[in-house]
Amino acid sequence: MLELQNLSKYFGGVRAVDSLSLKIEPGQIFGLIGPNGSGKSTTVNLITGLLGVTNGSIRLSGEEITRLPTHVRLSSGIARTFQNIRLFGQLTVWQNLWVAENSRAQRERTSFLARWLGGESGARARITKALEFSGLSHKANELAANLAFGEQRRLELARAMAAEPKLLLLDEPAAGMNAEEIGALDERIRQIRDSGITVLLIEHHMELIMAIADRIAVLNFGQKIAEGTPAEVQANPAVREAYLGTAETSTRGTA
C-alpha cells in the first residue's frame, strides 16, 4: 500500500527524519510511535506533501508520489487528520464534510471546469452517511467552530472518511480524549480497517495503539529503532531505552 524508502528530511543540520524505510501492507493498522520530536508528524507531512522530501522516495500502491503536489496526492487516495484539530470553523458541519467531495470529484473527472459546474448527485447520500457514522446528524447545520472538542475530533475523522481514501493517516487522534471517548475511538478505527482502509496511526496513547495496531514502528531522533508486532516492540530493549532513558527501570511501556 504505502512504501517509504530511505526517506529523509533535514531542517538545516537537524535530521528530523533520517533514512526511514517502512512498508505498510493493505488492510493493516500500522502504528508509528516514538518520543516527542522523534519525527512522527514530519513523516506524515512528508507523506502528504506538506513538506518537501530531502532524500528518498514515497510510493502509494506501487506508484511514485514523492514529487506530486499535495492536492493531487491527497485526491489520489490519501486522507489525514491533524494533531491539533483543523476544521473550517466558519463553515457548517455539513459544509465541512462537503470538502471531502473535492477529493472524490478530482479522482472521477479530469476537467477542472467540469468539476466546477459538475453535479452533486450521490454527494448528499455520502455526507448523510458520514454524519451518521460520526453521530453528528443533529448538528449538520452548526458552525464547526461551535462544536464541543470531542465532536470536532469526530467531525475531523468523518471528513477524512468521507473522502473514501485508500490510506488514512491519523495524527494523534486520541489527544485530549477521556477513557470513554478513547474506547469509542478504538472501535471506530477498527471499523475503518474492517471496511478495507489501511490506517497509519500516530499515537502517544500506548494502551490504544498496543491494542489495535497490527504492526508498529518506533522512531527516535528521526530513525527507526524497532519494528514488529505490538508484543515484539514492547519487549524490545532499544524501545524501552528510548522511552524511559535506561533499560533497567522500565516497567510497562506507558509513556
Partner: protein, 302 residues
C-alpha cells in the same frame, strides 16, 4: 426623485462594484489593496471604447471588464503565491504603478472635430455617451443597479455551487483545502480574474456616469475603502459589502450629521468592528441564523 438622491444612489451602486471585488478576494483569503487599479483600467478602457472607437456602451463595459480581468490575471501570476502582508504590499504597489502609468498616458485623437482622449494627469474628460444618447440620470442609475443586481445574483448562485464553497474553504484554511484535493492556486486565480472583471465593470460605469476619469479617481483610498466595506458589512454574504457601502456613503457621507467627520467615524467603525466582529456585521454566524429563521418562517407559512 431629486437629483441629489439619484447621484448618491448611483455612487453607492458604482462603489459597490469595487467593494464586491475586494470581497471576492477576501473570501479567497487574500487582502488586496489594489482592486482600485482594475476599477481604473475598466474606466479608461470603457471610456476609450465609447469615445474614441465609438463602441456601444454594452460592448465598452464588457471590454473594460475583460481587460481589467486580464490585468488581474497577469498580476495574479506574479503575486498569488504571496500571502498576508506581502500580497497586500504587492497589490498596492501594482495599483500605484497603474495610477502613475495613467498619469503618463496620453492618447489623443480628433473625433468629430474635437480632440479628445486621456491626457496624462488631467485625465480623460468628456466621456459624453449618456449625454449624446439622451439617457437621463434616473435611467443611468437604473443601468447601474440592474448590472449590480446581476453581479450580486451571480455571486449568490456561485455561493451554492462547489466553486463557491471551494473559495470559502481556500480562504479559511488554504493548507486544509489543499489536503482535501483543492488546487489552491487555481481557485485563487479564478477569484482574482472574477474580482478584476467586477471592478472593471464598475469602473466602466463610473467613467460614463461621471463623464470623466482621472488618475486621482482610483487612488489608494478607494482600495482601502473597498476592503473596509466588506469588513464592516460582513463576509458571510455578498450583501455584506453592499451594507458597508450603504453605511459609508449612504449614512456617513451623504447626511448632514456626520459631514466633515466621515473619516473619523468610518475609521472608528472599522476599528470597533474588527475587535467585536472580525468578520463584519453580516458574518457567517449571522447569515446562518437569518437563513434558519427564514426557512422556519417559510415552513410555518405552508
Amino acid at each position: 426623485m431629486d437629483g441629489y438622491l439619484i447621484t448618491v444612489l448611483s455612487n453607492i451602486g458604482m462603489i459597490s462594484f469595487v467593494a464586491l471585488s475586494a470581497y471576492i478576494l477576501l473570501l479567497s483569503g487574500q487582502i488586496s489593496f489594489g482592486q482600485q487599479a482594475y476599477f481604473g483600467i475598466g474606466a479608461y478602457t470603457a471610456g476609450i471604447a465609447t469615445v474614441m472607437w465609438q463602441w456601444p456602451l454594452a460592448g465598452a463595459l464588457v471590454l473594460g471588464a475583460l481587460v481589467a480581468s486580464a490585468a488581474a490575471g497577469l498580476v495574479g501570476l506574479a503575486t498569488l503565491r504571496l500571502s498576508g502582508i506581502y500580497f497586500a504590499m504587492a497589490t498596492l504597489a501594482f495599483a500605484e504603478i497603474m495610477r502613475i502609468a495613467a498619469e503618463l498616458l496620453v492618447y489623443r485623437r480628433e473625433i468629430g472635430g474635437i480632440e479628445t482622449g486621456p491626457d496624462g494627469i488631467d485625465g480623460f474628460r468628456d466621456i459624453r455617451y449618456f449625454f449624446a444618447n439622451d439617457v437621463s440620470p434616473l435611467q443611468t442609475c437604473l443601468i447601474v443597479y440592474v448590472l449590480l443586481g446581476m453581479v450580486v445574483a451571480a455571486l449568490f448562485m456561485a455561493e451554492r455551487t462547489r466553486a463557491g464553497r471551494m473559495l470559502r474553504q481556500v480562504g479559511e484554511d488554504p493548507l486544509l483545502a489543499e489536503v482535501h484535493g483543492i488546487d489552491v492556486m487555481r481557485v485563487r486565480m479564478a477569484a482574482a480574474l472574477v474580482a478584476g472583471a467586477v471592478a472593471g465593470l464598475g469602473g466602466g460605469l463610473y467613467a460614463h456616469l461621471m463623464t470623466y476619469v482621472e488618475p486621482k479617481s482610483f487612488d489608494i483610498m478607494l482600495g482601502v475603502h473597498a476592503l473596509a466595506y466588506g469588513l464592516i458589512g460582513g463576509l458571510g454574504t455578498a450583501l455584506g459589502p453592499l451594507l458597508g457601502v450603504l453605511i459609508d456613503i449612504g449614512l456617513l457621507e451623504s447626511t448632514r450629521i456626520f459631514r466633515g467627520y466621515r473619516m473619523i467615524v468610518f475609521g472608528g467603525l472599522v476599528a470597533v468592528l474588527l475587535i467585536v466582529r472580525p468578520r463584519g456585521l453580516l458574518d457567517e454566524n449571522a447569515v446562518g441564523r437569518i437563513r434558519h429563521y427564514l426557512r422556519r418562517r417559510g415552513h410555518a407559512g405552508d
